[in-house]
Symmetry: C2
Subunit: 162 residues, 2 copies
Amino acid sequence: MAQTSAPLDSPGTAVRVEPATIEDLPALIDLVAELMDLQGDFTPDHQAHDRGIRLILEEPSRGRIFVLRNDERIIGMVNLLFTISTALGGFVVLMEDVVIHPDHRKQGYGTLILEHVIDFAQQKKFKRITLLTDKLGAASQEFFKQHGFEFSHLIPMRRLLE
Amino acid sequence: MAQTSAPLDSPGTAVRVEPATIEDLPALIDLVAELMDLQGDFTPDHQAHDRGIRLILEEPSRGRIFVLRNDERIIGMVNLLFTISTALGGFVVLMEDVVIHPDHRKQGYGTLILEHVIDFAQQKKFKRITLLTDKLGAASQEFFKQHGFEFSHLIPMRRLLE
């Protein structure tokens, strides 16, 4: 029987958010590479993404990757890195690699995965979630604002090391 | 014999950068509290700073705090947190709490501690150092630019959790 993607993709049927496992690695690498393609600061590098994602999956104290999947495939991901705030006095989350596959956008999946992240962080007593958003992505900034995120007056500076 | 602070403070004599230990905790808390006082985003909270700094000192895999000290006291600090970049495929450093005590500024100590950080990160094969600078601190931005740091086009958004 032929399947259409619409019923499978509807929130509430088969779409769910789960912790990623090592079997998800190829799909995660593709999603991160696609995100890099969209951002001016980075270029896709499948080998690098493979190494980075493995480092997180191998050691849950470093962070957690959640995937959004239907019965057929992974359609989104988010990468949570755990670190410490001396200002707040506890563990905090850096949220990176928030990606929904282009075929599955505008269907509420961003909200589904972000609400999962916020629940997870609250349950685990993290004190803050920070993400770095692209200045150009006004729609994406609006999305995060709707979910309680506020702009900081701080700006990032970076030095790459050889 | 009475001592003046000038000779002790001169780089090359008794001033050195060393990993912080638990004995340094009270001085570190004071320096972080002072930094919070200067930044609009945060308010000083000695108990919180105590908890956060302990979390780092207790588990070296999470990060490293270096102190700048002379024979009498701690005159500066920097807090390096270790996390992972899926973009670059390896460990990266978040540099926070870069503070020189007000009595000891404009004497080259910022450079001393920052060069130590860059050497440390290169030796340990970290792939990038990121810091969040205050938009208002033009002098401090110029300082980091002189040391190879560049502005990113990304901007931070944050959500505090209760």
